[in-house]
């Protein structure tokens, strides 16, 4: 037996859909990656954390997407939510932004007074309390400003608008930086000259075991 939907209900649903479309809600959720796949599970405390370990965490995000205010991704090397409007934290797309990526790769604590390390699962949606500017100024117990000339892999270069971590240093003095670059680019490794830019300062995550 076919169950008929009453006409008033259809009209109501249509009106809601139309009003949401007009309000821009439909595109705001685009793929709704975080709603479909991400979680708020507790992270695991780790008493031993290394730069190599953080490199591994970072590389899992390579080729994934970028989400303003985001911090959840899988490891299939595809941006699951391309083309979201930029600098909208409500678009629920895949990937981190630059500061969320750094927080998660550096395995930091949501409590800014705690220097301890936490293993955040890729699909744990977490951005952390720091913006790029916060990192630049060494805000939070785990973070410290550091002379740019002394930065090594998995240290970071930050400005008031952006942060990326050093993957390797090139012979010409530039760096290969792993970073969440933007909606159109996602997360990857690019050659950068941040180290020579006056807008950028050095940042170091404190407490590495190796």
């Amino acid at each position: 037996m076919t169950r008929r939907i009453p006409a008033p209900a259809l009209a109501f649903a249509g009106a809601v859909a139309l009003s949401m479309a007009l309000a821009g809600v439909a595109w705001a959720y685009h793929t709704n990656f975080t709603g479909a796949y991400c979680n708020y599970n507790a992270p695991e405390y780790t008493s031993y954390f290394t730069r190599d370990g953080s490199m591994t965490v970072a590389l899992r995000a390579r080729w994934e997407g970028y989400q303003w205010g985001g911090g959840c991704w899988n490891d299939d090397d595809v941006d699951q939510s391309p083309g979201d409007p930029v600098e909208r934290s409500d678009t629920r797309g895949e990937g981190p932004d630059c500061s969320g990526f750094t927080f998660k790769v550096w395995r930091e604590d949501l409590d800014t007074s705690n220097q301890g390390a936490w293993q955040w699962n890729m699909l744990r949606n977490v951005h952390g309390p720091y913006s790029a500017a916060s990192f630049l100024y060494g805000v939070g117990a785990p973070n410290s400003t550091y002379p740019k000339s002394g930065l090594i892999r998995m240290d970071a270069l930050a400005s008031t608008d952006h942060i990326g971590m050093i993957y390797a240093r090139n012979a010409d003095g530039s760096d290969q930086v792993i970073e969440a670059k933007g909606e159109a680019y996602g997360v990857n490794i690019w050659t950068r000259t941040y180290r020579g830019s006056s807008a950028y300062g050095g940042v170091r995550r404190l407490g590495w075991d190796a």
Binding site: Y40, W68, G69, V86, E87, S89, D90, D97, C98, S99, G100, L110, D111, T112, S113, V126, H127, G128, P129, Y130, S131, A132, A133, S134, Y137, G138, V139, G140, A141, T160, D161, H162, A199
Partner: protein, 231 residues
């Protein structure tokens, strides 16, 4: 004597509860305007048009020009900011939980804020900074929530975020758990508001309820701002 003493002790919680209920306005709003701003100063008088708003406290707002911007603490904020040339003007607000300075870069392409509070973790004058693109029409790209580093004297986390007032708004009224805070929205800049309420550490976000009023005290907006740390 002993009985009296026991009786007296037994009455204390009940009496305290009664007083709390009375102070809390059992049947009233329970809102109580603080009598001091974060710098210890007495809050300015409420605008006449907003006198009827219960539990409201006025923030201290002033616009800094020229030489004002060469004095501390403004100069400590401005010297590290992008844009090179100093701004023409900056809006300073002293709130119940902290103080902020908002200005545009000289090319008027970006907005910058320095956020301050009673306590901050590194020993700098300002405990937070924020910058975002200033769009045509007065809008901004992102409200730039900042909650990483500023604390009240009691150790509570202070969150700051920009709120873009609706057209015709002259005042913004921000709801806190126990009072309301009135901001002057008369400048060209978005208003940098601060709060210790509505902060969700787990999602690094804050939810702030803001009502807007025109110069005559007519409500022209009622919004809930959901801001998220980003970028």
């Amino acid at each position: 004597m002993g009985r009296v003493a026991r009786g007296s002790t037994a009455w204390r919680p009940a009496a305290a509860a009664t007083l709390l209920l009375a102070a809390g306005g059992c049947g009233g709003s329970g809102l109580l305007a603080p009598d001091r701003l974060s710098d210890g100063s007495t809050p300015p008088a409420l605008p006449a048009a907003l006198k009827g708003i219960e539990g409201a406290v006025m923030t201290g707002t002033r616009t800094l020009h020229g030489r004002d911007l060469e004095d501390a603490p403004a100069v400590d904020c401005i010297k590290n900011m992008p844009g090179g040339a100093p701004p023409l003007a900056a809006v300073e607000a002293v709130t119940v939980d902290g103080h902020t300075l908002t200005f545009s870069t000289a090319d008027r392409q970006r907005l910058v804020a320095c956020d301050g509070a009673a306590r901050r973790r590194p020993s700098r004058r300002w405990c937070g900074t924020a910058t975002t693109r200033w769009l045509g029409g007065g809008g901004i790209e992102d409200p730039r929530l900042d909650l990483a580093n500023c604390l009240t004297a009691d150790g509570a986390t202070v969150a700051y975020t920009w709120v873009v007032p609706p057209a015709r708004a002259r005042w913004l009224v921000v709801d806190h758990d126990h009072f309301r805070e009135v901001y002057d929205a008369g400048s060209a800049y978005p208003v940098r508001v601060s709060t210790t309420d509505g902060i969700d550490v787990k999602t690094s976000s804050a939810t702030i309820h803001v009502r807007s009023y025109d110069a005559a005290g007519k409500e022209v907006g009622d919004d809930t701002v959901n801001a998220q740390v980003a970028g």
